[in-house]
Each structure stands twice: as structure tokens, then as C-alpha cells.
């Protein structure tokens, strides 16, 4: 029984980590009032870039860095379209996703089936890793897993307890109010969207450099879309993002356990998306009643002179 628990936990956390990165980034982007549906595209580009650079240099950290940069560059396209040009954010985000899926497929052709030299390996933490039960449960992950967990309290603190956080939330709730107080609304939105892109890129690199580790075309397999749902589930709070990401990680792990019982794998593959629908339905009820959470200016371009 204890072995079962150990394997559930030790599999769930890594399975949810890519989702956690994506969701934390999207929470920040949406807090500034910009919906970025390009998460899937940025993640897959992060995955292929991370794999390519790691293969070329043999250094996983360089690969991860490159993935973060590619995420930022892609998000800049969306920021330019939605903040500067003020076009429809849904269309621009969708375009980014399609672009990312297409380019990554093309770029990744020659990496298919290759083993990864220099993959990110689990850390061996003195003492902690060797603890009975707790060691295998929590202290044998790679550095990206720990970094994502560390980000949760950090991003929560910045969002609610610092001047940056108040500024970010104000821009997403009422850009006119922020503008009237002398805040550069466009700059804040650009930075938030770029931060979201960086974390989506990291999430993608995590998949190809640490979790898989391999390049498979379309390997994000809808993770970017689950991120969009998780952002709503989290009510734009980094702490709930952790909860949601691991919940979905857990469902993915559950598939491994249910498959030997004779349940069709096709049916099991549907589980995360079924859960997405259930979660969105639950949240819509709750959020509607409380009318909290949704940044009030989400998807609304801001222009000072508009009449």
C-alpha cells in the first residue's frame, strides 16, 4: 500500500510540472488583462528548441534557457498584436498555437527517435533523497520540478504583497484607473505576456529535456489547452494553479494504473479532457455566484483616447 502511494506521488508531481509552468505563466498574463491562447504553440516550440539546443551543446541548462527565450519571442508576437495593435486576442493566440505546432513539426523532423545526450537527471540531495518513504516521494526529482514548486509561493507573494503585484492586478482589472495613476499599461501588459511566454517555453523544455526525454511531434498533446482551463480553475491564484496542475498530473498517472485492468487506452486518453470540461463547468457555477477571480478587463484592449 505504501509502495502504491509512493509511486502515485512520485509520478504525479513530474506529470503535472509542465502544466504548472504553463499555468503560472498564463495566470500572470491574464492578470494583466491579456488572454494568450498560444500556450500550446509556445510550449511545443519550447520543447523542440530545448531538445535541439541540448543535443547540440550537450548541456540541458542551455537547452532550457533557449526554450525560455523562444517562449518570450513567440509571446512578443501576441503582445504586439493584442496590446499595440489591439486586435482580437483569441485570433492572435490561436494563430500562435498553429504556428508553433507547424514550425516545431518541421524543425523537429531530424530529432525524431534520437536519444538525448545530456538530459536533465534527477538530483541526488544528500540525506533527503535517502529518507525512507519521503525520499522517493519528494526528493528524487530534477531541478526543474523543484524550481516550479519554488515559483508558486514566490509568484503568489509578488502578486498579492508587492507593489508590482498591485500594479499588475490593477492593469488587468481597470486599465483606465491604472493609467490615470500614471502607470504605463502597455508596458505592464507586454512584460506579463512575455513572462507567460517564458514559463510556457520552460514547460515545453521540461517535457522534452527532462520528462520524456525525447522529441515526439506534437508531444504537448493538448497540454497548452489544459493550461487555459487550469488558469480559470485556479481563479488566477498561483497556489490553486499548483493544486490544479497536480490534479491533472494525477489523472495522467491514473491512466497507467487503469490500463492493465483492461480499460481501453483510447478511453483513458480522454480523461484529462473530460476532467477539463467537468472542472470548467464547476468553476463557471462558482465563479458566477461569487463574481470574483476573472480579471475584469480580460481580453479588453486599452486605448487612452478611445471615446
Amino acid at each position: 500500500m505504501i509502495d502504491f502511494l509512493i509511486s502515485i506521488v512520485s509520478l504525479t508531481i513530474p506529470a503535472g510540472t509542465a502544466l504548472l509552468y504553463g499555468t503560472l505563466g498564463e495566470v500572470y498574463a491574464e492578470r494583466s488583462g491579456v488572454l494568450n491562447l498560444g500556450v500550446e504553440g509556445m510550449m511545443i516550440m519550447g520543447a523542440v528548441t530545448g531538445f535541439a539546443v541540448t543535443t547540440a551543446t550537450g548541456n540541458a541548462l542551455l537547452g532550457i534557457l533557449a526554450a525560455a527565450i523562444i517562449g518570450v519571442l513567440m509571446s512578443l508576437v501576441h503582445a504586439f498584436a493584442s496590446v499595440t495593435l489591439r486586435v482580437n486576442q483569441v485570433v492572435s493566440g490561436l494563430a500562435l498555437t498553429m504556428l508553433g505546432l507547424g514550425i516545431s513539426g518541421m524543425m523537429g523532423k531530424r530529432f525524431i527517435g534520437l536519444p538525448l545526450a545530456g538530459r536533465l537527471t534527477p538530483l541526488d540531495i544528500p540525506v533527503l533523497s535517502d529518507l525512507p518513504i519521503l525520499g522517493p516521494m519528494f526528493f528524487r526529482f530534477n531541478i526543474l520540478v523543484y524550481f516550479s514548486i519554488l515559483l508558486v509561493p514566490l509568484l503568489w507573494f509578488i502578486l498579492y504583497k508587492t507593489h508590482w503585484g498591485i500594479t499588475l492586478r490593477s492593469v488587468g482589472e481597470n486599465p483606465a484607473a491604472a493609467d490615470a495613476m500614471g502607470i504605463n499599461v502597455s508596458l505592464v501588459r507586454y512584460l506579463a505576456v512575455m513572462f507567460g511566454g517564458m514559463l510556457a517555453g520552460l514547460g515545453g523544455a521540461y517535457l522534452s529535456v527532462a520528462y520524456a526525454p525525447a522529441w515526439i511531434e506534437g508531444m504537448t498533446a493538448g497540454a497548452g489547452w489544459i493550461v487555459i482551463a487550469l488558469t480559470i480553475f485556479s481563479l488566477w491564484d498561483p497556489r490553486r494553479a499548483l493544486l490544479g496542475a497536480y490534479l491533472f498530473g494525477g489523472v495522467r498517472v491514473l491512466q497507467f494504473f487503469l490500463q492493465p485492468l483492461g480499460i481501453s487506452p483510447n478511453l483513458l486518453n480522454m480523461l484529462p479532457f473530460l476532467l477539463t470540461i467537468v472542472v470548467l463547468w464547476m468553476i463557471s457555477e462558482q465563479a458566477f455566484r461569487r463574481r470574483i477571480g476573472v480579471p475584469a478587463a480580460l481580453m479588453q484592449p486599452y486605448s487612452r483616447e478611445e471615446r
Binding site: T162, R169, A180
Partner: protein, 512 residues
């Protein structure tokens, strides 16, 4: 810089011109505001007052003209620049983040250091509140506050930034009479401390009550700048409108007839699932205008929606004459003779459809307008032509799209449609909101004419003057309850003000 006068004016705007596509909003405007005075900017909607002040606050950039602050030429490119020059602006629609606390709103963009030190900031806000008599709890969330309190937060925001020149855009439009008095006290207190106040209004009595000087704008131009003590409301009205305004509305004595609307213990929820109407009862008779006064957000919207069938009724009953309509569909209610002019007038019309099409939006099912399943366009057009003439809607033709009409004409077209069915009851919610003096006058005349013909009318308005002018009886709605029903006589005004603030409840046996 010449130094002829010992103190230069706080604000000097010269030759300010601002064009918007198709509109000349400000046409070579000159404005001088002296240090320490309360200066009123008077004009009708669209006269260019708000545009001018937005230019002073850096929200718009003037196409031409120059600005001096305390005698120093400046260029103001953004609110950030304005704040640095000691200018603060309180917009008509408050610029507050509803889900944040008062402190978070006040320190926005002003915080020193990385971590937000809530205690220090609230302490500083408390000091400012005490000094200027601006009572507000720094730790409350904005959505918990009344309009008056939210306005105080806005003033605190400006003071916190060290504003010496304060611009207020229509500051009294959302306030109860008691709150208006408090605001005026605060403004006087601020001028004593050397602040300069510029306030935008279209209410004549406010100009005469608090300003030292007044500048009147009409159609983007300055008409005059006067010492308030040397003018009167009549002259101001003439300058503002450009002609003599005769508010000679005749409201003759009418014997109310049969009961047309009876509401018994009506209860309904708001969008958050809380009770917005906590059991309200009233009746309206033929030939009677029944006014509902109150500050917005006390259940007015929910009352209208519950009556027209857009919001489920939790408890209570509603009768139209003798027919119960409590749970009828909106269409059944329309067919039983209920008509409504909602406060958002463009939600009752389809702005991108023609005037003629909008005129038959409720009646197109009648056989007269159709040939089989097709609409008979000729009949529709001649029918709407008749209504356009009868209600003096100014439109190039009946094929013009509704969205191209002015606010006053849209409202007249809407009234024409709603009244064309000879309804048993007309609901008119804030029927003149956003209309200028002339358009307001004609809407009021239409409503009074309907009353004379024996129509029962439910008038819901935040404009106390409107309610008092038109209604026979006035109910005050506060927090989903009726605080009292009184006759609309001047001696009841103070009582009504107290009831609007929730400070007084008239015993039920004294209701009329």
C-alpha cells in the same frame, strides 16, 4: 514671463483646440483659474467640458493651444505628467479597482520599495482622511463602498499624490443630498488649505451654491466667464443652452383612476444571488406617475427586470390591472399591456437596424404588418412615418439606422414605439439620463401628456429633480426596500434625502 500680477493663475489654458473624427470638441478655448478658487465649468452634454479637462490631465493631447500651470508653460503628455505638476482628476466614472482595497487603490503607482507595507500606507491615509474630513475605512474593498465613499477614495488618491489643483467631473451626479453637502464642505476645506478646485457640472444650482467663478461652454467654445456672485441661474441657463429655457411644465390636478399595477411583497435576487428586492409593495393608478427615487444600485435594475419578466421572482405577486403576471414570459406581459423604456436605451432597440424596423419590433406579428410570412414593408414604413411625426423624432428618413440618431431622438423613437401599443402601464427608467436640457424637456412633456391622457407610469430615476417634477407620489428605494412613500412636494425633500441615505424610515401608516 510678465510679472504683472503677484500670484499667477493656477491654470491658464490658451487657444485649446481638439478635434475628434467629425467633431470639433474644443474650439480655441481660453480658461483661467485663479489660485484657491472654486471654478465651475458649466455646459450641456457635448459642450466640451470633459474633453477640456482630459486635456489638462494629459489623457487627450490638444491639436493646438498652450497650458501654463502657476505661470509656467508646460506640456502634459500623460496623467503621469499631470500628477507631477500637482494636478488630480476625479472622473465621473470612478477609476477604481473594485476588487482591491482602499489602500491598494490609493497607493497604486506610488509605492516605495518592493514589498507593499500596508500598515504604513493605511496610517497615512487615515491622517489625510481626518485632515480633510473624508471618512473612509482604508481596509475596506471598493465594492463594499457607497458612491459617496468611493468618491472620497478618489479625492484621497489625488491628495495622496500631493495634488494642488483638483478637477472633479460631475461630482454630485451619483450622490445623495446628504453626501453632496459633505462633499461641498470638503471642497471648501480644501480651498482654505490653498487647493484650487475645478468642477464640471450642468446643474445650475450647484454653480451658484459653491463656485466663486464660472466658465460657460457651448458647442466647444467659451461663451463667458463670470463671477458667480454677479449672475443668476436664469442667465446661466440662457448662456448654457443658447436660448431662453422655460421650464414651464404644467402638471395639472388629475383624479387618479383604476389601479393599473399592483406589486405585493416582491422579492428577487441580484446577479450575485443575494436579495436585491426584499419584499416591496406599491400600486399605481390611471393618470398617475409613480416615482422611485434612490441612489443607483439599491434594487432599481432588479425591480425593472422583475416587472418585465427578465428576472425570476422569488416571492410576491404582480398584477397588471386584474391580471396576474408574476411568472409570465416577457412576451405575455407585452401582450397584456406592459411597456418599458429601460435605462440602457440601446438595449431596447437594435442600433444597427432602421428606425422603421425598430418601430415594429414588438408589433410586427400583427397581421396588419404582414403578407403571409413576409413583412409588408410599405405598411411598416408608413406606420413608422406616422410615429416619427407624432413624436417629432428628427431623422433623415425612417430607413436611417437607429445608431446614427442623437440620444434625445433615440429616446423619442423608443417612447413612440412603447406608447404606440397603448399600454396599461409604462415603465420609464432614467428616461433622460445623458440627454441635454432641451431633449430632457421634450421627454418630460411627453410623459406628462401621457399622464393627462390617463396613462399609469412607473418612473425610476436617480435624478431627484426629475422625480420631484414629474411624479405624483414618490417611493424611496434603499437596499432593496421601500423606506417610505410620500407626495412629491417640496417640503418632503429633506425626508426623501434621508431615506435615500438609509438614515430614515417612514412608518408604514404614514405612506400615501
Amino acid at each position: 514671463m510678465t510679472d504683472s500680477s503677484p500670484t499667477p493663475p493656477a491654470v491658464l489654458m490658451r487657444g485649446i483646440t481638439k478635434r475628434f473624427p467629425g467633431v470639433l470638441a474644443n474650439d480655441h478655448i481660453d480658461l483661467e483659474v485663479r489660485q484657491g478658487e472654486i471654478h465651475a465649468l458649466l455646459g450641456e452634454n457635448g459642450a466640451g467640458k470633459t474633453t477640456l479637462m482630459n486635456i489638462l490631465y494629459g489623457i487627450y493631447h490638444p491639436d493646438e493651444g498652450s497650458i501654463e500651470i502657476y505661470g509656467r508653460p508646460v506640456s502634459i503628455h500623460s496623467p503621469h505628467d499631470a500628477i507631477k505638476l500637482g494636478i488630480g482628476m476625479i472622473h465621473q466614472q470612478f477609476r477604481l479597482v473594485q476588487t482591491h482595497t482602499v489602500v491598494e487603490n490609493v497607493i497604486l503607482g506610488m509605492g516605495k520599495g518592493f514589498v507593499f507595507r500596508e500598515k504604513e500606507a493605511s496610517e497615512k491615509i487615515r491622517e489625510l482622511s481626518a485632515r480633510y474630513n473624508l471618512k473612509v475605512d482604508p481596509d475596506a474593498y471598493i465594492w463594499q463602498l457607497s458612491a459617496g465613499e468611493q468618491q472620497r477614495v478618489e479625492i484621497l488618491k489625488a491628495l495622496y499624490r500631493g495634488a494642488q489643483i483638483l478637477i472633479l467631473d460631475e461630482p454630485t451626479s451619483m450622490l445623495t443630498p446628504g453626501e453632496i453637502e459633505d462633499l461641498l464642505k470638503t471642497l471648501h476645506r480644501m480651498t482654505e488649505e490653498g487647493h484650487t478646485i475645478l468642477f464640471i457640472t450642468h446643474k445650475l444650482d450647484e454653480v451658484t451654491a459653491i463656485s466663486h467663478r464660472v466658465t460657460i461652454l457651448r458647442q466647444g467654445r467659451v461663451i463667458a466667464t463670470l463671477e458667480t456672485s454677479q449672475t443668476n441661474e436664469r442667465e446661466l441657463a440662457r448662456l448654457m443652452v443658447g436660448r431662453e429655457v422655460l421650464f414651464r411644465l404644467s402638471k395639472e390636478q388629475i383624479q387618479p383612476g383604476e389601479v393599473m399595477l399592483q406589486v405585493e411583497n416582491l422579492q428577487a435576487l441580484n446577479d450575485k444571488g443575494l436579495f436585491a428586492l426584499k419584499g416591496i409593495s406599491f400600486t399605481i393608478r390611471q393618470g398617475e406617475i409613480f416615482g422611485i427615487a434612490g441612489v443607483a444600485g439599491n434594487g432599481q435594475r432588479e425591480l425593472v427586470e422583475a416587472l418585465i419578466g427578465l428576472r425570476p421572482v422569488q416571492a410576491g405577486r404582480v398584477f397588471l390591472q386584474k391580471d396576474e403576471i408574476t411568472h409570465d414570459s416577457p412576451r405575455a406581459r407585452i401582450e397584456k399591456g406592459l411597456a418599458c423604456v429601460p435605462s440602457e436605451r440601446l438595449t431596447a432597440l437594435v442600433p444597427s437596424m432602421s428606425v422603421a424596423e425598430n418601430m415594429v419590433l414588438k408589433s410586427y406579428r400583427q397581421p396588419a404588418f404582414g403578407r403571409g410570412i413576409l413583412l409588408d414593408r410599405t405598411t411598416v414604413r408608413s406606420y413608422s412615418q406616422r410615429l416619427i411625426e407624432q413624436y417629432a423624432v428628427i431623422t433623415p428618413s425612417c430607413d436611417t439606422l437607429v445608431k446614427l440618431l442623437s440620444g434625445g431622438n433615440i429616446q423619442r423613437a423608443l417612447l413612440a414605439r412603447e406608447l404606440s401599443s397603448q399600454p396599461r402601464l409604462l415603465i420609464a427608467a432614467t428616461p433622460t439620463a445623458g440627454l441635454d436640457v432641451g431633449a430632457t424637456e421634450t421627454i418630460w412633456q411627453i410623459l406628462l401628456e401621457q399622464r393627462r391622457q390617463g396613462r399609469a407610469i412607473l418612473l425610476i430615476s436617480e435624478d431627484l429633480e426629475e422625480v420631484m417634477t414629474l411624479s405624483d407620489r414618490v417611493a424611496v428605494l434603499f437596499s432593496g426596500e421601500i423606506m417610505g412613500i410620500v407626495r412629491s412636494e417640496a417640503q418632503n425633500l429633506e425626508k426623501i434625502g434621508l431615506m435615500m441615505a438609509g438614515a430614515f424610515r417612514l412608518p408604514q401608516e404614514e405612506w400615501v
